[in-house]
Amino acid sequence: MSDGSGGSDGTRAGTGGEADRRPSGRVDVCVIGSGPAGALVAATLARRGRDVVVLEAGRRFDPAERLRQMERSIRPGGGSVWEMGGARDAFTSPGERRYPLNAARVKGVGGSTLHWQGMVMRLHELDFERRTREGVADDWPIGYDDLAPYYARAERELGVAGAVDDPFAPPRDGPFPMPAFPPSYGDSLFADACERLGVAMHSVGNARNSEAYDGRGPCVGYGTCKPVCPSGAKYTAEVHVAEAEAEGARVVDRAAVQRLEHGDSGEVVEAAVYATPDGEEHRQEARRFVVACGGVETPRLLLLSASDRHPDGLANSSGLVGRYFMDHLFAGVGGRLDEPTRQNHVGFITSECHQFYDDPGRATRGIPGTDADVGSIKLEFLNYAGPSPVEMALGAEEWGDDLLSVLREAYGNEIAMGALVGQLPRRENRVALDRSRTDDHGNPVPAIHWRIDDRTKRTIERANEIQRAILSELGVEITWTVGPENTGPAFHHMGTTRMGTDPEESVVDSTLRTHDLDNCWIASSGVFVTSGAMNPTLTIAALALRVADHVDETL
C-alpha cells in the first residue's frame, strides 16, 4: 500500500516485527497453526495450566487496521486484504479442475477465520455413517453422539447466534448461547413461495454476535463480513489466541514450521523446526505436538517431514496423507423480481433450508422427487444478491447523474439462492508435493489434484432444480445459474489426514492422534472422513476441543 498506512512486511509497530521469536525451552505442548483449531487447542490447554507454544506462519493483523482493510475490500485496486499470494503461498493445481487455493485460506494469527463468512452448523448423524446407511464413502470411527457435547461447547466458545427452529437438525441439549438474527425482508419474500411448495425455511447458525457476547459488541451492519468485519462482531480465532495468551501461552507469529523432527525411535516427534523473518531456523521442543495448519498445509508439512525412518513423510505409513481431499461445491440460481428485494444491507444469511439434507431426492408438495443417486444439499436464501451500489460505483465508467441512474437500474430487484453440496471422498483427489516449484524457503509447494465426480454434478443439478422451482414460484425472472459446469469450491478443505480405526486406511485414530507417532495429534478438517454439506468449522472447533481433552489426559 502506498497510502502510508503500513505495508505487508509486518514490521509495523504492533505487529511484532522485532519480536523475540527464539524458541522456549521444552514445553508441554507445541501447537502449529493459529486458526480456530490451533487457537482452541491452545486456549483450552493453557486454561488448564499447560505450558503451550503456538507457532504461526503468518503475521498478526492489528485490529486497528481493520477499517482500512474493509475500505480496501470495497474499493477496487486494493489488492488482497489478507496479503495472500506471492512466494510464501505458491502452489500448483495440476488436476482436472483448477483449485484457487489462495482465495480459499488465510495465513495469519486467526487463520482463515479472518476472512470467513461465519456460518456454523452441526453435521447430521447421517454424515458419520454414510457407508452403513447409504453404502457410499466410509463411516467415521466416532458418531454424532460422541461429538454432541463438544458441539455445545464449541457453540459457546465461538459465540453462535441461533434458534431451535430447524426441524431437520440433529438432536441438541439446550439453546444456542445467543438468539438468532431475525429473518431479513428478503427472507419474507421467499416465505410464501416456499410455503406453497412445501419447503421449510428456518434460521441459520451464525458465529456473529446478535447481542454483546464474550467482551465483543453486537453486529452493527457494516455488511462486509467476508472478507473483513471491522466491528469484531464476527468471530475470528483471534478471540482464542488472545485467551490463550492471557492464560500464559506463547504465540509466535511469522514462524513458519519447515518440518517436524522425530527422535531416534521414529515414534515420537521431538521438535518443530521453524523459520523466522531474520532468516534463522529454530527448534521448538515439546512433549506433545498438535498440527493445526488447515486441510492443505497439514498434509504438506507431514510430507515435508520425510526422514530415513519415514521416507514417505511423517504419519504416512498408510500412504494416505494428502489423499481424499474434498471441498463443498456451490450451486446457485438468481434473477430479478418486479418489486424491491432490499439486498446488501448486511453481509450474512438469516435463513436456510435443511430439508434436502438427509433426503435430497424427496418430493414436496410442489417439487417433484428424483430417484437418482445424489448427495446432501444445504439450501441458502441469500441477503446479498446482486450488486452492492458502492462497489458498483467505484468500478463504473459513468459519474454524476448518469452514474446514479445506472445504480438505480442495477440495484433493488435482485434475488438469489445458494446451496452447498458435498463431495464423496476419492483417493485421486489429493494434496501432494510439487517438486518442480518451491516456496520462499525452498520447500516444494502443494499441488492440488482436484476433480468433481458425476454424483457431485448430479447433486448440483438437483440443487438447481429445487432453486429454480422456488424462484419460479416466486415469479422471479431467472438470469443466472451456477451449475455443474461453472461451479466452484466453497473453500472448505477436508479429508487429507482422515480419521479411522485401521492404520492402513487412515492417518489418525478416533482421538485424532496419528497412528504412527505417539505424541502427535491433528486438529483439522483434514480428519473428516466425509464432507457432508454443512460448513465445516463448528465441527473443526468441536474436534479441537476434543483433541485438547485427549492431549491433556496424556500429560
Partner: protein, 184 residues
C-alpha cells in the same frame, strides 16, 4: 438532497478514519501543522486546491446533491489529517489535473464550466482507468480523486438512500434496515 456533516462523518468511519467526538474538520485545521508531518511538510491544501477538489466532487456527484463543499471539507480533512503520504498523493493528482486544465482549456479546473470539467476527466482516460496509487496519471486520478470521492458519497447513508439502500456496504447502519420492507 442535502449532504450533511453526519454523512461525511459516516463516510469517514467507513474509511477507517476515527474521528474523536466534536473535532472540527475544517481546512484551516490542516494548516495548523500538528507536529505529525515531517520537516517543512504540511498536509494543508491551499484555496485553489480546495476549489479543484470541490469542482471534481460536483462533477462526480448527482446534481440533486447539495452541501457538497462542506461534505468534501469534512471528509477530506478527516481523511488526510493523519496521513501525510496520502495527502501528498491527493495534492499531486490535483496539480496534474490543474496542469491539464491549463494547457488544454486555458484555465484551472475549478474555472471550467461543467461540460469541460466532465470532458477533461474523460479525455484523461479517468473513466476507464483502473484505480492504482502508483500508476499512470489517469490511474492515480481514479484512485485518489474519483474513487475517493465516490466512496465517500455512496458509502454514506444519504448517498445510499438516493440509490435505495440506507445502509450501504461500509456504513455501520445497524440491524434494523435489513428487516425493513420498502414501504415501512
Amino acid at each position: 438532497m442535502e449532504l450533511t456533516r453526519r454523512d461525511a462523518l459516516a463516510a469517514l468511519a467507513a474509511s477507517g478514519a476515527l474521528v474523536a467526538g466534536g473535532a472540527s474538520l475544517t481546512w484551516d485545521r490542516l494548516s495548523r501543522a500538528d507536529g505529525e508531518h515531517g520537516e517543512g511538510e504540511s498536509a494543508a491544501f491551499d484555496g485553489e486546491e480546495v476549489a479543484t477538489l470541490v469542482a471534481v466532487a460536483t462533477v462526480l456527484y448527482p446534481s440533486a446533491a447539495t452541501g457538497v463543499p462542506e461534505f468534501v471539507e469534512t471528509y477530506v480533512v478527516g481523511r488526510i489529517r493523519d496521513r501525510p503520504a496520502y495527502a501528498a498523493g491527493v495534492r499531486d493528482v490535483l496539480s496534474t489535473l490543474d496542469a491539464s486544465a491549463e494547457s488544454w482549456y486555458g484555465g484551472r479546473y475549478a474555472t471550467l464550466d461543467d461540460g469541460d470539467r466532465d470532458g477533461l476527466l474523460r479525455e484523461l482516460g479517468v473513466a476507464t482507468a483502473e484505480p492504482n496509487p502508483d500508476g499512470t496519471d489517469a490511474e492515480r486520478l481514479r484512485y485518489y480523486l474519483v474513487n475517493e470521492l465516490l466512496y465517500a458519497f455512496y458509502a454514506s447513508p444519504t448517498g445510499g438512500r438516493l440509490v435505495g439502500i440506507e445502509n450501504p456496504q461500509g456504513y455501520p447502519g445497524g440491524l434494523e434496515s435489513y428487516r425493513r420492507g420498502p414501504r415501512s
